[in-house]
Amino acid sequence: MQKKIRVLIAKPGLDSHDRGAKVVARALRDAGMEVIYTGLRQTPEQIVEAALQEDVDVIGLSILSGAHKALFPRIMQLLKEKGLTDILVFAGGIIPEEDVPELKKIGIKEVFGPGTPTEKIIQCILDYCSKKSLKMCSN
């Protein structure tokens, strides 16, 4: 058995700044994860459907357009509707500090702003997945 952590890196919204998304994708790849990159300008529906088909453990959302308050709740709602509530969702990009509590309330686990060391993101994923597999084992 060779379980791999699968991560979807997605860019909702209309901005085309995907440098950060690619840096994170690359770092996760180098940490031994399988990273699926969706490309730019994804609708919430496309992102959630990709997460479902790819059966990922984690979704990373990168957004710099300022539309996170409109798009993230929609994504979280769709995930719930499809029964994908065991997926870890984190976010990054340009997200004002004062919006973070609200995003965490709807289920976004962490918001990683510019300058976050990639090790911190990797650790967050590893912690979550080890907890999840423990939970799976105890079931």
Binding site: A25, G32, G39, K82
Partner: protein, 317 residues
């Protein structure tokens, strides 16, 4: 119902979450994998499996996006397994084939799965073949497998797909060198993509020349199709060739079946004729009744009687 039975039931009814879960279990080689494959196996064999291979950068993903769209227009349900390499150093992978198929991701009759090779060699992953079976059992009419950007010897795809499309593009360096050995031999259809570039015709001519060198008498003539994946130009023609090849395979299968049937009938007919003529001779010589009496008196059993007679008649059998 156990978890496995639930997943199998979901796959057979085309439920996307179950398909995704089944493929994960197979990929991870989890204990349930064997049971899932065994349970869905009787429902496979209906989909036409197309393998798309060729060097990195030739436009495989983009072309698949357009092929799927064309098949959808024809009302077919489509599955895609897109394989990308796993890093032999870290075990990680960057799977980027979905980027070129974005607009397909919300079509409920299209299922796209990215798959890392997990260091399996040959251009596909170990789980690719079984993932194709899952999509087949889930009712997809067409399943397309995209190999990793392949060079010369990544020909494992022939074990998975019925129609192999080898795609090439002008300006990828010494293209003919790159395809002459392995890939050249497995192609059922050649595609020269990016056909709007100069040198596209040169690439077609080079492949034609190669094919002619190679030309043993074959029932299937390998066509070369020019496409521009970005605009979709040439894609309907490509689908036409793929469908032609599918019908060709179907005819070959029918021919094989007809041959088998003819053989059985011929053997039966010969048996009848031979038996009739031998029995006629037995009766003429009066030996028939003689043997029958011996059998009735249990002096000999029917099989030995037949053997004895045939030996006398034709020498040691």
């Amino acid at each position: 119902m156990t978890k496995t039975e639930e997943i199998v039931k979901g796959v057979l009814s085309g439920d996307r979450r179950s398909i995704a879960k089944a493929i994960t279990i197979i990929e991870n080689n989890e204990p349930e994998a064997k049971e899932i494959i065994a349970s869905i196996y009787p429902y496979t064999g209906k989909a036409h499996v197309i393998g798309l291979t060729g060097p990195g950068g030739s436009g495989k993903s983009t072309l698949i996006g357009k092929i799927v769209r064309e098949y959808r227009r024809m009302g077919k349900k489509v599955g895609v397994v897109a394989v990308d390499p796993t890093s032999p150093f870290t075990g990680g992978a960057f799977l980027g084939d979905r980027i070129r198929m974005q607009e397909l991701s919300t079509d409920p009759e299209v299922f796209i799965r990215s798959m890392a090779t997990r260091n399996y060699s040959g251009g596909i992953a170990k789980a690719t073949s079984d993932a194709v079976k899952v999509l087949d059992a889930a009712g997809k009419d067409v399943v397309i497998v995209e190999t990793v950007g392949a060079g010369q010897s990544e020909v494992e795809i022939v074990k998975v797909a019925q129609t192999i499309v080898v795609i090439h593009a002008p300006g990828l360096g010494d293209e003919i060198q790159a395809i002459k050995a392995g890939l050249m031999e497995i192609a059922d259809i050649f595609v020269v993509n990016k056909a709007d570039r100069e040198n596209a015709d040169k690439a077609v001519i080079d492949i034609q020349a190669m094919l002619q060198l190679n030309n043993k008498e074959k029932a299937w003539r390998i066509p070369i199709v020019k496409t521009v994946a970005l605009t979709g130009e040439g894609v309907p023609q490509l689908i036409e060739k793929i469908e032609e090849h599918r019908r060709f395979l179907e005819r070959e299968r029918q021919r094989e079946k007809a041959f088998l049937k003819a053989e059985m009938e011929l053997v039966e007919a010969i048996k009848d004729k031979v038996a009739q003529s031998i029995i006629a001779e037995l009766k003429k010589e009066g030996k028939f009744v003689e043997l029958l009496e011996k059998i009735v008196k249990k002096e000999i059993d029917p099989a030995s009687a037949a053997e004895k007679f045939l030996c006398e008649k034709f020498g040691k059998a």
